[in-house]
Symmetry: C2
Amino acid sequence: MARNSPAPRSAKSRAGIRPLPGRARSENGNAHSDLMNGEIGLDALAGHAGYAVRRFQIWVFQDFIRTLGAVDIRPTQYSVMTVIGANPGLSQMAVAKRLGIERARLVHLLDSLEQRDLVSRVKSAADRRSHALHLTARGRTALAQFKRLAAEHERHVAEKLGKENRKKLLQILSDFT
Amino acid sequence: MARNSPAPRSAKSRAGIRPLPGRARSENGNAHSDLMNGEIGLDALAGHAGYAVRRFQIWVFQDFIRTLGAVDIRPTQYSVMTVIGANPGLSQMAVAKRLGIERARLVHLLDSLEQRDLVSRVKSAADRRSHALHLTARGRTALAQFKRLAAEHERHVAEKLGKENRKKLLQILSDFT
DNA sequence: AACAATTGTTGTCGTCAACAACAATCTTCC
DNA sequence: GGAAGATTGTTGTTGACGACAACAATTGTT
């Protein structure tokens, strides 16, 4: 989603907020039509849950990335660490299934987290094909901080949606978690 | 790495090593524990709107892509055509802003749609930098069909969420459309 | 006329989902 | 007990996508 490689200059001042109201006044067509007032209709799009959700998700992720920018943790990395932290010893397959990400993708995610000494792959004695995933000591203390920042992010969401709306949203989508 | 190392072959007499029977904790092994029943806790993740939304969005998009698979139209393409259909003559900049996509990205999207004779770029006489976007005749009839299929997709969403929940969801996220 | 801003375009980079293939290692079944 | 099939982690590829940067053409602004 966003540039967040640690090396290049941080996308700090970026203020990656997207232009919601989009005062897209002057459409180039000539004098005709009802668009002149700057209102660009969405037509059928307005009734599509998928569209609204896409826009919302972009906003949420950008806020998450920005709020956890200081610790350089992205949403997926956070989800992986959270699940491992709550269920130490899980295999990569189990984590991938639970989070709905491809095991192929998880490989790179874990490579990164392991390099940062946040997660460790322990060869399982029971099934030598698989790895038992654990947080390192450093990973545990780090996760605690991540959770505090993530809670702050979640407060931003609550501000944006309203407390009750956020709650209702979580309830409506609870089947997908 | 582990892939090509030919050495680690035999040696490992699987005789003595066994998975510590006393352990009732979450272990990678398949033999036991709380994972067997599929119960993998999400911990803090369960309270994050972003996580729920991400999972939901994946589901919705997959259903959309599948439902409109016969006509080979993806969500973003549909959104572009819908907006152009409802506001003929818009510039690329205006469409990009309204839909929250990069104008650089829109170039490719329009290239594709133009190649399929669904959209046409008309050089604007008013501002010769910009293009006025229109649906072709073919594009208009095609969009009508796309909308029917999209409506079917939306019914799938309603089935999944419940009619009322879908409505509430659209209302909660209305600021983002 | 000179200079700043906008529009479409091209290109690069990184994220991400979906596959396919593979070696190592279980599991199953005869 | 061993062959056949399934699973796990891994590597690689493809394509959609968001964020940026640079550029030519064209306004607009002064």
